[in-house]
């Protein structure tokens, strides 16, 4: 039996009359890069927030790294890393301080702290900028620092919410190389959401397409493309096929404002 690190059973979250995530059942295996695709408002962020224990489910169950998200939320948090879509590194601290604080919060023993931070800074190519305030960093540097913050404790699963939004192509490529390296070097399972189909196509071992709170299809990108019956089909076509191509999609005012703000700050 393969190792399942995320397992949800009829996981549901409602906000008033709106069902953001509807009776969702998925499994993610250890070491996978699992991509969650879907238009804004499909329920991707709500699902991630439930899995990282920021939001309690309305009904249903989920286990992350073997722990129940509702009953053992603190244990779940010890095994995961989370990089929000928004910019979460603190601009008024230096890169080193940002890492130091998280090393302490994640209970990394004092004797290992300095070495872990040094290694992380080297891996992310931030060693020279470690003592500069983060507000002077470029967008790509901030994203790399955030990933470093969330992986200092070598999490089993790294959750990334739109990790490449607002980044230029060079920075985006660097982020993807980093994610791939975490997976090969540490066996970290990656659970991410993205809007970029070509990225999902080349990087994800499996993707799930979400629409209106439901997972409408899940599988390896190649299988999903093959399922359309057109040999030239791209993942874009798969996405449009399952998630529709309605102009109504695009998320709420708040979603849009948030995405644009992140893009602006990163750019």
């Amino acid at each position: 039996m393969s190792d399942i690190v995320i397992e949800t059973t009829s996981l549901t979250r409602c906000f008033g009359a709106l069902t953001a995530v509807n009776s969702l059942t998925i499994q993610v295996k250890a070491g996978e890069v699992f991509g969650l695709l879907g238009p804004n408002g499909a329920g991707k962020s709500t699902l991630i927030k439930m899995l990282i224990t920021l939001l309690p489910p309305t009904s249903g169950k989920a286990r992350v790294c073997g722990f129940d998200i509702a009953r053992a939320s603190c244990d779940v948090r010890r095994f995961i890393g989370y990089v929000p879509q928004l910019l979460s590194a603190d601009g008024s601290l230096t890169g080193y301080e940002n890492l130091l604080v998280f090393a302490k919060l994640y209970d990394i023993p004092r004797s290992e702290r300095a070495e872990r931070i040094r290694l992380a800074l080297n891996l992310m190519g931030l060693a020279d900028a470690a003592d500069k305030l983060v507000r002077t960093y470029s967008g790509g540097m901030i994203r790399r620092l955030e990933i470093a913050q969330s992986t200092l404790h070598h999490p089993s699963i790294l959750f990334l919410d739109e990790p490449t939004v607002g980044l230029d192509p060079v920075a985006r490529k660097a982020v993807w190389e980093l994610i791939e390296r975490l997976r090969t070097d540490f066996g970290t399972t990656i659970f991410l959401t993205t809007h970029f189909m070509e990225e999902a196509d080349s990087m994800c071992s499996r993707v799930a397409i979400m629409h209106l709170g439901n997972v409408v299809n899940v599988g390896a990108p190649a299988d999903l493309k093959a399922s359309l019956g057109d040999e030239n089909a791209t993942l874009d076509d798969v996405f449009v096929h399952y998630a529709g191509n309605s102009l109504d999609s695009g998320g709420t005012f708040r979603d849009t404002s948030r995405t644009r703000r992140t893009a602006q700050r990163l750019g």
């Binding site: 690190v5 244990d75 979460s88 959750f159």
Partner: protein, 283 residues
């Protein structure tokens, strides 16, 4: 079962042997450590940019130099044998703490919009430690202003108690009351979640808190309805304790023990409530 084993195996060198939900000594130590880390985070920010402390010092300076000196000459407010400037010095220090702490919650809304709150909440840090750490950090800000106000008052010839126990007591009251009002502020932030609404509510409650306390006039000259309000206002007990411990010849009206008990009980209640509400800010 397989998942459980895997969880333990994948843990690597992270300390995972002790389950999170454990109670007792280890849990307390961990709670205190995390609280200090959050306070450290805030203190480091302040070190990088201490501008705020200078701008915060303007208002108490005006109160002491202008209001204080004018009213000391007028002798309009009956403060017994005590000069009015001596009487109001602890009140202005308390006001300073209140003003710094009550707007502290806006930083939480800012951090929420940035995504910092979400990342902190996704780390294995107890919610109450996040709240108490912030509260402690507000205390550190207030202490630096406390030094400034002591220095200014000394120039104005306010007669202080310089006994180390008295000074330690003042320090403690400042920390507790900063924690109290900053947690109140954080609770408001968790409920309203928007900067505009927060500013409105912040403005709305600061002045009533200040004027219904004994900060700048004794409770004895208040009308009865105001006396009632004054007695349920925690600022009154903060000022009472400060007056007793700061001033040579100062005495507490309610007793220092009751002052401390009321302040600590109110702070603890608010921290627990804040810890419960804090995750709401991320959703």
């Amino acid at each position: 079962m397989i998942l459980q084993e895997q969880g333990a195996r994948l843990s690597g060198s992270v300390e995972t042997k002790r389950p999170c939900a454990s109670f007792g000594f280890t849990a307390i130590i961990r709670f205190v450590k995390k609280t200090v880390v959050i306070a450290e985070l805030e203190a480091r920010k302040l070190l990088h940019d201490p501008t705020e402390l200078f701008t915060r010092a303007v208002q108490p300076t005006l109160w002491l130099l202008v209001f204080g000196q004018v009213f000391t000459r007028m002798r309009a407010i009956p403060t017994g044998d005590m000069r009015y400037i001596d009487f109001m010095a602890p009140g202005i220090l308390a006001q300073c703490v209140l003003f710094v702490a009550i707007f502290y919650g806006i930083a939480v809304i800012w951090e929420r919009d940035l995504g910092i709150v979400q990342k902190l909440l996704a780390s294995p840090t107890p919610r109450t430690a996040l709240v108490l750490g912030k509260a402690l950090a507000a205390g550190v800000r207030c202490l630096t202003l406390g030094f400034f106000i002591y220095a200014l008052c000394a120039l104005l010839d306010v007669k202080f108690k310089w006994h180390p126990f008295a000074l330690a007591g003042v320090l403690l009251v400042l920390l507790i009351s900063a924690a109290l009002f900053s947690t109140l502020s954080l609770i408001i932030a968790c409920i309203v979640k928007s900067r505009e609404r927060f500013m409105g509510i912040g403005q709305m409650i600061t002045m009533p808190l200040f004027f219904t306390s004994n900060a700048i006039y004794p409770i004895t000259i208040m009308p009865n309805w105001l006396k009632v309000l004054s007695h349920i206002n925690p600022l009154t007990y903060q000022v009472d304790a400060l007056r007793a411990m700061m001033l040579a010849g100062g005495a507490s009206q309610y007793g220092l023990i009751s002052d401390f008990c009321i302040l600590i009980a109110a702070t603890s209640l608010l921290v627990i409530l804040g810890g419960w509400l804090y995750p709401r800010v991320a959703t």
